[in-house]
Amino acid sequence: MYAQMVKTDGTGVKDRAEMSADEQAFQDRIDRGEKIEPKDWMPDNYRRTLIRQIGQHAHSEIVGQLPEGNWITRAPTLERKAILLAKVQDEAGHGLYLYGAAETLGVTRDALTEDLLAGRMKYSSIFNYPTLNWADMGAVGWLVDGAAIINQVALQRTSYGPYARAMVRICKEESFHARQGFHIMMKMARGTKEQKAMAQDALNRLWYPVLMMFGPSDKDSVHTAQSMAWKIKMDTNDELRQKFVDQTVQQIEYLGLELPDPNTKWNDETGQYDYSDPDWTEFFDVIKGNGPCNVDRLAARNKAWDDGKWVRDGLMAHAAKKTAAKLAAE
């Protein structure tokens, strides 16, 4: 999941009796499964929450370029280099598309970018972890994009039209990324002794951070109820996490790798896998800015933005000159 702990401003889900007539009508539309479109009336809270959620998702796509970009210049073959470039390019495209969806709610991409760069808005905790060996390029596609898909497939049914449509388009590409990532893992897991060790190392390192992508456990998740009532969150964090574990354990076994969590066990009673919780202290540390890469990631994005200012200004100035010249000629 690329959006974690998205705040809803209210004090919880309102009773129908507490709702204004507008709010009641709005909730009825959502309950009937209608899509809310940009020009429709919506509660301020809904708008603000969505801006936070879509913005966080967009920022994740952008910052997410960095850990994978870290390996583009070291990709081992021309084909791997091309595949990785194309993937990172897709992620930038997702960012663009999501910022577009956020803009329909009345914010600008530049304002959201400033919020990211100033640390006022977050991006997924997963991108604050480093990519340390080539198998990470497999593991990230397989696990990180895989986890994102679980959440985003559900969000295709989200109540806000532009967001739902963005998810449909993005999910197709994410599935492709996950398959390509798994393919790298297969090569590595079935390769030389060293390659297999890289694959295991990547899996071990990324396992818990990926479980954290779904957000804190339901009992600690304060904003879920309102978001679910609005259908901008379709399942709880723990439900999504369980789904991910259930599908991934079998893939790990297929790869012939060791399970990173020795407590992973099939539970006949529940019909799903038991697994160990990630270290939530670590999660909250990362969210607060103390992950292994938080400082570097944000610094890299700030540097790109600051270094690029003269380029943006130059291109804008040129566009303005051209418009002026065209007007003068008319």
Binding site: I62, Q65, L66, G69, I72, T73, R74, A75, P76, T77, L78, E79, R80, K81, A82, L85, A86, V88, Q89, A92, G93, G95, L96, Y99, R109, W134, I184, K187, G191, T192, E194, Q195, A300, K303, A304, W305, D307, G308, K309, W310, V311, R312, D313, G314, L315, M316, A317, H318, A319, K321
Partner: protein
């Protein structure tokens, strides 16, 4: 083996390999999201062309190597790219200026190669020239936009042009490899492209309010491998690292 053709194909493939690599270094660090996407796209095209050129080079060589082995397992003296493309990225202005200076040449050269007497060369050139036409349109637009933008962007683009200009001439210096292939109708005479090139880039620089340097001095040593810059070795360190560290593995 046709030694001259092999050398020439290495030149084409190494140009796109090295420039594609340089452009890919921008990934995630561009001035604006649209540029991140565009730069990745350019790099992707260039790497794709590399696969074709080096793939054909390996076939012509007939020594059991493939495009990857050529890219990942030659040392500096084996590389045949123009010095221009191995120069470090510098700021965005220099990267785009370098791209434009290369694209402008590439699009002309590929146009001639499409008429090559060797159908394999003509076929790859036809495919690559579609991409090159798009690249040059974009890089020329950006050179114009930044050249004729703010005072700062203008100054940066002029500085980039002056830094890069002494590396342009190498594109037009012919040698025995060229001469043999020119005689066989496989490739154009490099010197014969200069007039069209100067006219084209001159037009763009005029629109961009940039001054084209007058000097014709040129650094050389890239396309014949005699004298690369110090920069190439560092690039190969990262590019070839996995293949060198884990020989024989399949990725």
């Amino acid at each position: 083996m046709d030694k001259d053709l092999f050398q020439y194909l290495l030149r084409l493939g190494d140009n796109t390999l090295v420039l594609g690599h340089r452009v890919s270094e921008w990934c995630g660090h561009a001035p604006v999201l649209e540029e991140d996407i565009a730069l990745a796209n350019t790099a992707l095209d260039l790497i794709g062309q590399t696969q074709l050129w080096l793939g054909l080079a390996a076939e012509v060589e007939g020594a059991g190597r493939d495009a990857d082995k050529l890219a990942m397992l030659r040392d500096i003296w084996g590389f045949r790219n123009l010095l221009l493309v191995e120069l470090p990225n510098g700021d965005f202005g220099r990267t785009l200026m370098r791209q434009f200076l290369f694209d402008a040449w590439q699009v002309i050269n590929l146009g001639r190669l499409m008429k090559s007497s060797d159908p394999r060369v003509a076929e790859i050139a036809a495919k690559a020239s579609k991409e090159a036409a798009y690249h040059v349109e974009r890089s020329a637009d950006t050179v114009v936009g930044l050249g004729d933008g703010t005072a700062e962007s203008h100054a940066r683009m002029q500085a980039a042009l002056e830094y890069l200009w002494p590396y342009v001439g190498e594109m037009f210096v012919g040698d025995d490899v060229d001469a043999a292939l020119v005689a066989a109708g496989v490739v154009p005479d490099p010197a014969s492209l200069r007039e069209e090139y100067d006219a084209f880039v001159g037009r763009i620089f005029a629109t961009a309010t940039l001054e084209m340097p007058e000097s014709r001095f040129t650094h050389k040593g890239g396309k014949n491998g005699a004298f690369h810059t110090e920069h190439l070795g560092h690039m190969l360190c990262s590019m070839q690292w996995l293949q060198r560290a884990y020989p024989g593995a399949s990725w």
